[in-house]
Symmetry: C2
Subunit: 358 residues, 2 copies
Amino acid sequence: MPTEHVARRGRLAAILRERGLAAAVVTDLVNVRYLTGFTGSNGAVRVSEDGSAVLATDGRYRDQAAEEAPDVEVVVDRDLLGALSKETGGAQRVGVETHALTVDDYDEARERFGEVELVSLGRAVEQLRVVKDEEELDALRRACDISVQALDEVLAGPLLGRTEREIARDLEWTMYAKGAEAIGFETIVASGPNTAIPHHDPTNRPVGRDELLKIDFGARVDGYHADCTRTVVVGRADAWQREIYEAVRVAQQAGVDACREGAPVADVDALVRQVLADAGWLEAFTTGLGHGVGLRIHEDPFLSAKAPARLERRTALTMEPGIYVAGRGGVRIEDTLVVTDGAPELLTVATKDLLELA
Amino acid sequence: MPTEHVARRGRLAAILRERGLAAAVVTDLVNVRYLTGFTGSNGAVRVSEDGSAVLATDGRYRDQAAEEAPDVEVVVDRDLLGALSKETGGAQRVGVETHALTVDDYDEARERFGEVELVSLGRAVEQLRVVKDEEELDALRRACDISVQALDEVLAGPLLGRTEREIARDLEWTMYAKGAEAIGFETIVASGPNTAIPHHDPTNRPVGRDELLKIDFGARVDGYHADCTRTVVVGRADAWQREIYEAVRVAQQAGVDACREGAPVADVDALVRQVLADAGWLEAFTTGLGHGVGLRIHEDPFLSAKAPARLERRTALTMEPGIYVAGRGGVRIEDTLVVTDGAPELLTVATKDLLELA
């Protein structure tokens, strides 16, 4: 399988040259995976300004590193930073991930690197990860396909009288059966008044008749996360349930439609809030609007009023407005989508009409 | 339910007084949970030398913090470190977790704390966590009970012809059904030659006749992790399988028996290695011997030849020697146990005789 890792390291190398850095020592394991393909639990990679790379790991991962990262030099050494400090001459500047490196590890690095000046690389690799390449989009598509297929099966029912936990486990089991390598995050299944809690751990509460049922879930495939929420009614929806559902549906669709290359993130956020405000429900929207999604379930960019960025093409995002009324109930509708120069590519293709199910 | 959090903070306060620190600002979320009971994903706690505590978190967790940590003052503020820096006078020394705090967060803390001198608290809270209190042992016992009961059901079969993944998902499902709040870590199910890989991700390989089947798994209950491995033969064991099984069984039992209050950790490690060496299999033992287990699946103390410590009473540990022969197969037997002044309390009570199953 051709991999994009060389190109990713090339983009990082260009940043290093821009900033006058001889190399970056990347220690955040998700970033290490992004740059090399290595998925072990202990490793660090040095990427030099010419794009060459050395991956350091310990003996447990010797074979795995060679297999997963065939195009980089692998050094096996328990002292990762020590290994990566070698071959770095003096009077150089090397970037390190000060947002991920602990104080103790940083002090150790300074000792290992001696005369080399360590400077903050910032979230350079996280910023590269905002724009997905084809290999990443392919994994995201597969993760989302598995997720919505599993949801379809679970929503086929029965739902009435089953507990939140049973529904959550059933959904997870179905995602595994369809090829998920893992469950992307702790599945939220909330029924009745519990739907008012944005992040609710499934309980042994059975789903009652004519209640809202909110399911926030996603599969992981090749390290990439799907993130999807649907809210349905088990039985018949009453007028209030219909009202908040429709308010969220319209706001969510407006948000999806606004996700276009070049759109200021803050404008997308403002638009969705305006739609909710027009419907009289803005105060009941108490969470963030959405977030980037990829090797982490929550990653850059985060959608908010203060976000300075514009949306870039091939950015994978969630769009997840909601209404939460304590003690009564709530609705959230969430898609994972990919920004294009036209309408976004929806990865979680499942109806957003209000379903009344058994 | 009475909780031990006050006593835990009291033990930390005693350390602070010993070291001349006015307070500790604890930011590692597992340590925050240990000291307060708070399980949210964003929080930090300041414990003062008099044992008083202030927990800072953001608005999402206002109710949850009040409920989970009723005996500490809760401050809601997005700027956790800013909130915890207030009321701290100048000319004081405050401990921070430099092994857990990132360089960027530390720089921010230094700014927030102004004239207060920040010094490394080291792994003080992790060291407190080595010795479990009754509340912790109770959670560990329940996690281990659920785990071995689930294993029993899955080993009842059928096993032959099922895939590693099917067995893993079945075991996980069963742990949930028995009351696990989560699966403690990625379940390992390895069959045939895959048993030679110490940490093997379950695949779609069906278990063949007369093959080794290795299962490393555990439930999580109230935040506490069970960790257990059993290896069986599906069909009839041949002489080689019996030989390596017996070598591991004897070494593991020797290790368990050696875990006694006051025993030097390095001696336990040396003893097990000697037993494996006497059987001619030491070189095939390529992993660590065991580790502490509690709120984290891997925590202090780690069993190794270099560990300086002696075992303390009420320490929860795994004992998990193994033999791994690449391309052929392997055996691991692992228990979670609690150190006492006599024979250890075994928490994963399941036979270690070689089972030949269908």
